[in-house]
């Protein structure tokens, strides 16, 4: 790691730690930003590095959300009675129970989706291109409809997650969820950055560029595809678990398996920032979130129209995303050596 990088990381870390105190009113939005970055970054493993456009990552997110909340309740109270009573107040978590439940819940929310990803990955990662995209799209929709029929997790009534216990002051809840999501974000970043510096990433890229050739080279592509998806599932599950606690109310199709919003947003953010790069999804998620929040405030009722215009502009003018555009504009800043003569020759050719 060179000096510049170190300064950058320390800067971001300091900002991340200071943010909830600098902008105390924005804690919820900042926590959601962390979750969005996690989702975009992990989607990028499939969509960007591996070339598999997955709409199914929302499955792991929703699964994590339900699992975390269910475990948190189920560890201390009968889950069926909790949902029957609409949750809350009838049974009250002590602070210790709340945090223990959350910890175990998050663990389950990470591990189970990982296993699920392994199992279903084995069967559907054999599909390629559009077939894979459509199949994963179905996964999220199906999960939403199925979970909407399971009584023990509230079915259509929704699931109220345990309310934050009475510790500290009014700000504690926001701070707790912010730091939780920020820590998970850091873990995700470290993990993904680590992965991207290994041969694993090169194999994913090989799969993206030409899967048949990669196989001919003796790479067991299936194995790598599944592992890649499991890594995404792990962090998506965690993100879902946090989001469930943060929102406080889980609805099967609108909050948990929210393919129409979160499922699409994670793709959009990665593309906006530039897929297939480490920083692209992070920048994409940040810009997207700020734009969206801004539109919400200033273009009430038109926010999706404005968002649509943004998407059109991106697709037309920045097809490679923000990072891709910067890379084309300032290749030397990305450590690429540009031969001026060669460049001129290309311009003349055009």
């Amino acid at each position: 790691m060179n000096k510049n990088n170190l300064i950058l990381y320390i800067g971001i870390l300091t900002f991340g730690i200071a943010a909830p105190f600098l902008f105390p009113a924005f804690k919820v939005q900042l926590s959601i930003l962390c979750v969005l970055i996690i989702l975009a970054t992990t989607w990028n493993i499939q969509g960007g590095e591996m070339g598999y456009n997955s709409f199914g990552n929302i499955l792991f997110y929703g699964l994590g959300m339900y699992l975390c909340a269910s475990v948190q309740v189920g560890m201390f109270f009968p889950l069926a009675e909790w949902t029957e009573s609409g949750g809350e107040k009838t049974f009250v978590h002590t602070p210790a129970q709340f945090f223990q439940g959350m910890a175990v819940g998050l663990l389950v929310a990470a591990v189970v989706p990982t296993i699920v990803a392994g199992l279903i990955g084995y069967s559907i990662l054999g599909l390629r291109g559009h077939y894979f995209a459509i199949c994963t799209l179905g996964l999220g929709v199906a999960a939403g409809e199925i979970s909407g029929g399971i009584e023990i997790i509230g079915a259509g009534q929704g699931f109220t997650t345990p309310p934050f216990p009475d510790v500290g002051n009014l700000e504690s809840r926001g701070e707790f969820f912010y730091f939780l999501s920020f820590i998970v974000l850091i873990l995700t970043f470290i993990a993904v950055r680590g992965i991207y510096s290994t041969r694993f990433k090169l194999i994913l890229n090989a799969i993206r560029d030409n899967e048949d050739k990669a196989e001919a080279m003796g790479i067991q592509t299936m194995k790598y595809k599944i592992v890649g998806w499991m890594i995404s599932a792990f962090f998506c599950g965690l993100a879902g678990g946090i989001m469930g606690g943060l929102v406080g109310y889980i609805d099967s199709t609108d909050v948990a398996f929210d393919g129409r919003e979160m499922g699409v947003f994670m793709v959009l953010m990665a593309i906006l920032g530039g897929k297939g790069t480490l920083w692209g999804p992070i920048i994409g998620a940040t810009v997207f979130h700020i734009f969206k929040e801004g539109f919400w405030t200033f273009f009430l009722g038109w926010q999706y129209v404005a968002l649509g215009v943004l998407i059109v502009v991106i697709v037309i003018y920045f097809p490679e995303g923000i990072m891709g555009w910067l890379r084309e504009k300032y290749p030397e800043r990305f450590g690429e050596v540009v031969d001026e003569k060669d460049r001129k020759a290309q311009v003349e050719l055009k």
């Binding site: 060179n2 510049n4 990088n5 950058l8 971001i12 900002f15 902008f23 105390p24 009113a25 924005f26 804690k27 919820v28 939005q29 959601i32 009573s85 609409g86 949750g87 809350e88 107040k89 009838t90 409809e145 909407g148 029929g149 079915a155 259509g156 009534q157 929704g158 109220t160 934050f164 009014l170 809840r173 926001g174 989001m243 929102v247 406080g248 109310y249 609805d251 199709t253 609108d254 909050v255 929210d258 919003e261 920083w279 920048i283 940040t286 700020i290 929040e293 801004g294 919400w296 405030t297 009430l300 009722g301 926010q303 999706y304 910067l326 300032y330 030397e332 800043r333 990305f334 450590g335």
Partner: protein, 412 residues
């Protein structure tokens, strides 16, 4: 590694944007009492969201033009900050947080639908922000011991249980068979629980119990079953779209059923959209213009209906009426509390006991309105094809007699 510079500049740009977007409102600015509301302006509840918003706006204008709110010898006017929750509970919870912590709102109005109210209530409760809501009827909202939630409407389980009683009565007190189709959302599922209780109480039998997806656009499968099973009553609940879909497909498939009980007929403008096809549908309603309640601001139901139609170009469904009533409740509570202290306003709200054009309002411990019964109306058309909703139950308010059983399609 110049790329770092780019990233740093991006982050700083983001920070600047973030900090400039802090617009601070206080709860009471000058002579304004600022209320906050997350409303479904887009998404699956958008039509009802607009009814809710129109109801709020109508009452704000009326109260402001008639002297406003008098607190501590000073006159204040209402103002509302709206956000669009996109019919999404996740968004609604975020917006509640935003209204309270960023915009400094200290009093809230409810969103549309039980699901969204469920998502917002924990937030308002946490901050101790009194919320008067007019569109969250799910019973589970009122069993949680919320202290700052007040609903001007009757809980959802009371919507259609009367219809079952009515069917049993028409069947000479003998049990009936019931087919049920409910959307998978908090409100409709609660209506279902109410119907289930009525079925049990009357010894009736449920023959179909279908769950329908959100964004209800097709229920043909259920209707095929209804054709086969020939139940005495068909109960459908799925907000505006549910009502529209049910009537459309029942008329297309010529499904004969002696009684069709639904919700949201007036919000869906059923009689206008489907005309004679919607005839005989029995609908649960929180309010009807012919009810004889009165207040000083809107006078009575008929006047409200006329004023609302003049202003917005359509007859007010009960969603609009109850939303207007929420503002009347707030005004009353502010004046009785004679203060803007949240606790005092909350206590004043809890002690509310008043009549509005929409009905009597008195809150139970859980926050639901216990002083206002539901009414059932039936869509009735004259020979010219002009349809009207007429109250048929309870008898106290009835302006027409229930037509039962519904004539078969071959005779219509």
């Amino acid at each position: 590694m110049k790329i770092n510079k780019i990233i740093v500049s991006f982050i700083s740009a983001a920070v600047i944007l973030l900090s400039t977007s802090v617009v601070s409102f206080a709860k009471v600015v000058g002579d304004k009492i600022v209320l906050g509301a997350a409303i479904s302006l887009t998404g699956k509840y958008s039509s009802n969201g607009v009814h809710t918003q129109n109801g709020y706006n109508m009452a704000v204008d009326r109260i402001n033009s008639m002297g406003g709110v008098k607190v501590g010898g000073k006159t204040y006017k209402f103002d509302i900050i709206y956000y669009d929750d996109e019919s999404n509970p996740k968004r609604a919870a975020q917006l509640a947080e935003r209204l309270i912590s960023q915009d400094g709102v200290e009093f809230m109005l409810g969103p549309y639908s039980s699901g969204l109210t469920k998502a917002i209530a924990p937030v308002t409760e946490k901050y101790g922000v009194p919320m008067v809501e007019a569109n969250g009827a799910s019973r589970s909202l009122f069993t949680k011991g919320y202290k700052y939630l007040f609903a001007v409407l009757a809980p959802a389980n009371l919507y259609l249980d009367v219809a079952i009683d009515l069917a049993v009565e028409k069947n000479n007190g003998k049990p009936v068979t019931v087919a049920m189709a409910f959307e998978q959302d908090a409100f409709s599922q609660d209506v279902r629980l109410g119907v289930l209780e009525a079925i049990e109480r009357t010894g009736s039998k449920k023959v179909i119990d279908d769950k329908l997806p959100k964004e209800l656009n097709d229920m043909a499968a259920t209707l095929v079953k209804v054709k086969q099973m020939k139940p005495d009553v068909l109960v459908v609940s799925g907000h505006t779209k549910g009502a529209l879909t049910a009537v459309r497909q029942i008329s297309e498939m010529k499904v004969d059923v002696p009684m069709l009980a639904m919700t949201h007929c007036d919000a869906a403008k059923l009689s206008k959209q489907h005309g004679k096809n919607s005839q005989y549908a029995l609908c649960a309603s929180q309010w009807h213009k012919t009810l004889t309640y009165k207040d000083n601001f809107f006078k009575d139901g008929m006047t409200y209906d006329a004023d609302f139609t003049k202003e917005f170009g359509y007859a007010p469904p009960y969603q609009a009426a109850e939303s207007s009533a929420a503002l009347l409740v707030f005004k009353d509570a502010f004046e009785r509390a004679n203060s803007f202290d949240q606790k005092k306003v909350r206590d004043a709200l809890a002690a509310t006991n008043m009549q509005t054009f929409y009905g009597n309002i008195k809150f139970a411990e859980g926050g639901q309105n216990v002083d206002k019964p539901m009414v059932l109306f039936q869509v009735m058309c004259d020979d010219g094809g002009k349809c009207e909703n007429k109250v048929v139950a309870p008898t106290k308010w009835a302006s027409a007699k229930l037509i039962h059983p519904i004539p078969s399609w071959s005779q219509r």
